[in-house]
Symmetry: C2
Subunit: 208 residues, 2 copies
């Protein structure tokens, strides 16, 4: 079933549930890891690794929804599936609004959980390429000198070298040099490519 590494982080204060789910997932080829508390999970969690979290809603100390929020604040878009014994509609709605991928009720039907994980894997696969590209763009951006970065923002605003020079208090020739080096470092050969790249990386042109 599973080929690429994909870890399922199981978090539930009931060791029996953990064990049962872990066995189910492991038997389907997943790398299942279990945690009996939200803290344990957060401490050991590496947002960079592929996978998804399966969280119990009701847990002492930090509950499932709080853990979900902590994950979201961590910046990583770690997908979350909730599993609950005594959940109610308002809770499920809150979880879904907060971005949960699914919200299942105990006893969990094996098929439901496997399907949910499967859908997440598909979505993650689609997002993977995009994230890689974003990372590549960011690392290129990091190689720009402050001046080059500044020129970049003016270029994606569609300004002429002449105008940029005026804005930065220098002459056109200087801008041409920065611009050329910036294009070289960013690995693009046209303003169109540069704009698209900057757009995805969230770089915005200066207001003025």
């Amino acid at each position: 079933m599973s080929t690429a590494p994909f870890t399922i982080y199981l978090v539930d204060d009931d060791a029996g549930v953990l064990k049962a789910l872990a066995r189910l997932l492991t038997s389907h080829g997943y790398d299942a890891r279990t945690f009996t508390s939200a803290r344990d999970f957060l401490d050991a969690h590496d947002p960079a690794l592929p996978g998804c979290a399966v969280l119990d809603v009701a847990m002492p100390d930090l509950d499932g929804l709080q853990l979900q929020q902590a994950l979201a604040e961590g910046g990583a878009g770690r997908p979350v599936i909730f599993v609950t014994g005594r959940g109610d509609i308002p809770t499920s709605v809150r979880a879904m609004k907060a971005g949960a991928a699914d919200f299942l009720t105990k006893p969990v039907k094996e098929e439901d959980l496997l399907d949910a994980i499967s859908r997440i894997r598909e979505r993650e696969a689609l997002l993977h390429h995009e994230r890689q590209e974003l990372q590549a763009v960011r690392s290129r951006l990091a190689t720009l000198t402050p001046r080059e970065h500044e020129v970049l923002t003016h270029v994606i605003a569609g300004r002429l070298n002449k105008q940029i020079a005026f804005d930065l208090g220098t002459v056109e020739k200087t801008i041409k040099v920065h611009r050329g080096r910036m294009m070289e470092k960013m690995g693009v050969r046209s303003v169109a490519e540069l704009v698209r790249m900057a757009e995805r990386a969230g770089i915005r042109p200066p207001e003025t």
Copy 2:
């Protein structure tokens, strides 16, 4: 409470519920319209007008979730709030996955419904400007001749006039003319602006 026109489309097979909700909303300044069946609503619905739908989940013939799907297929991003008497978690989850803004249980607390509507209004207000711009871009696109549109796609790919000419089987001079007229019609003065505009309108450069 309400200033700009914002219609609430209430759909419920229970006339009593409709009346109660309509009175509540009307007293808060909303333009509430009631429908006792999904069909009635769909027939009278204009996706272009601002507002949101408050749907009962359980209705004969076409139920709330089906109606939500019908609205989504209609292309309009009409926000939907569900209200249900005997809902369960799986149903609420399905509704939220399908894009519902909220899912409330009867008896509906007045505050909950008003808050939900209020959040929708805020979000719609933010989306409004973007939609207006998208519409403006599309109407400009509609004024382009087929050739100009084709040139546009090549320009946003960052191709040189010379290359575009080769691809389209003509000469550079011709491309310059189309390009100039296209830029004029699109109301932009730089490739950067054009790329951003096209990006938002979903125009993609040709593969080759």
